[in-house]
């Protein structure tokens, strides 16, 4: 097998590592941040990290299934953002802030 340089030859590993890094960043945001808007952004980041994996495998295995899945994920992400932002707006209207802790009031 010819020797390959990690820096010059872009292989599947690079895509997957990128995906993992993005996913971890997004996860850290979800776990640590308190602002709902930032939280949504972090969730979006995680979803898109997964999308990168899908596309990578789709390309690598030469199958279109993964790319189809990406469309599903994007659709659901859009719907989720719509609902989530609506919640954020109503929380903001009520408390003049979009901190996650106000969601505790939903438990009744």
């Amino acid at each position: 097998m010819p020797s390959t340089s990690f820096l010059t030859d872009i292989s599947i590993n690079h895509y997957l590592i990128l995906s993992a890094i993005l996913f971890s960043i997004g996860m850290a945001g979800v776990l640590l941040r308190r602002n709902i808007i930032v939280l949504f952004m972090s969730i979006e980041l995680m979803l898109n990290a997964v999308n990168i994996s899908f596309v990578t495998f789709s390309h690598y295995f030469d199958k279109v299934d993964g790319q189809v899945m990406v469309f599903f994920v994007m659709t659901i992400a859009a719907a989720e953002a719509a609902v989530g932002l609506a919640l954020a707006v109503s929380i903001f209207k009520r408390f003049k802030e979009v901190n996650i802790r106000f969601f505790e009031h939903l438990k009744g």
């Binding site: 996860m27 979800v30 776990l31 640590l32 996650i100 802790r101 969601f103 505790e104």
Partner: protein, 645 residues
Amino acid sequence: MSHQMLIAILLLSPLVGFILNGVRFRSSNYLLAGSIATGAVAVSFACAIALFMQLVGLPPEQRRLTVSFFEWISVGSFKVNAGFVVDQISAIMILIITGVGSLIHLFSIGYMHHDKGVTKYFAYLNFFLFNMLILVLGDSLLTMFVGWEGVGLCSYLLIGFWFNDSAKAAAGMKAFITNRIGDAAFIIGMFILFMTFGTLNMHELNGLAPTIMESSWLGAVTLGTLMLFIGATGKSAQIPLYVWLPDAMAGPTPVSALIHAATMVTAGVYMIVRLNPLFVVAPNTMMVIAIVGAATAVLAATIGLTQTDIKKVLAYSTVSQLGYMFLAVGVGAFGAGMFHLMTHAFFKALMFLGSGSVIHAMHEEQDIRKMGGLKKYLPITHFTFVLGWLAIIGMPPFAGFFSKDEILWFAYSSPRGHILLWIAGAIGATLTAFYMTRLMALTFWGSSRVDKSVHPHESPLVMTIPLMVLGLLSVIGGWVGIPHVISEFVGHIPNFWEHWLEPLITKLPEASQVAHSATEEWALMGVSVSLASISALAAFIMYTKKAGAADKVANAFGPVYKLVDNKYYVDEAYFGVIINPLVSASRDLWHYVDVNVIDKATYKITDLVRGGGSFVRSLQNGNMQQYAMYVVLGVVIALSYMLVG
């Protein structure tokens, strides 16, 4: 009607009465409750008569009607049926129980009509009769024991019937706990007999009884029968467990008449008579029974001399008379024991009901020092009471004469008797004549010491009719068992009693060796009757004619009188030796072992559980980000397991 049907109705009728009154126990409609209860017992009485008639119609060897309703217990070879048997002995018992029982129920309608708990009272009374019938009809010791416990429960409930008074509630507890001691011995006796013979069926046990006398104290039969007898001392109030019966007088007076005089307390005598083939082969047990019986007869009679509560006098008299019955069965005169059981049921029920009538008339006053001269206010009660009095002190031809005299004769003449037993019995009879005459004199005769605010009045008919019937029975009840010497003297009157019981009574094996002449019997009879007459006369003079004579005698005897007046300090001794050490030991166990060891151990466990709980609770606090963290942690752990492991 078939005998199975009759026995079923006999048993179930009081149970139905109990249920009918029990479900509406708050009602204060005394007429309805009393009619249901009395009717139920009257139905039983009719069945008992019908069964008796069927029994009479059979040849003597076949007089045994059995019924088995269902198999009650079946464990391996141990089988007990819910079986009941009517034979010569139990037929007499059911006649007494339901006959005297219905009279007492009738009396109760009058006696309890003002009481708020009257329906509950009648329900208990019917339930008692149901249990008593199970006791006497049960064909195995275990079935008998069910009734044995059932009557104990009813006795407890009825003694403590007015439980708002803590002394009365305590009397109920005393009766129950004292009986438990006897019951424990009864159970042990059952174990021993079952281990030895492999059955608890009394008919089989009697058939399996060995033919050779058991001379050892540690033989199985001796131990078993001794244990059963200890059980009987509890139920039948003998030394050393008699202490509950006088206190049991806290209950309503008809209860004292029914349970604590006529029926329940005789259960011990009945049990021994029923198992007489077993007791006969254990001479040591018989000796213990005779001695305990004679001692109880004398001891209780002496206490009876000083009591001032009308019911307490009768209670000690009952203990004493039960002592006579045990004396009889102890010397092997089982027929005489049963005979005295029956006559005693008549005259003692009569006197208890009579005392109830007096108490009713005196507005709940029971102290005979505050009575006197009641004869003119209560003519019927007085007249019937006189009949009972003559019967208990053994005046011929009243019922008590025949039965008591027969017991005394056997105490002397039986191969297992002894002159000392006869002397004890004669002393008991003399004392009985004295204290009963004293009771009569202080209550009915002499000058009136009645409080001015009390206006005695004769009781209504519903109460005096039972008195009259029982009075009649106290007169003629003894005529079924007239001794041979008398019957030969006045012409041949058959001794119905002896013939009736003969097939079920085992003859003492050593019976034929000693011969006693009729002259001896006449002499002993004459001695005991004249002793009783003299002491009755002495008491009559002391308490009606010579005011103050009684106090002089009491002072002359000083310390002895004090000892007797305090009932020989038996209660105090029991408290000092058994109850107080037990209570203080229990209290120490509570203060030290329970508080310091058991409580602390349980507190540690609860602390542990509570700490764990609060930790787990803190994990679920509604913070979504924390939940997400758990998910991540879970994924990390699962992944690392998959990758590494």
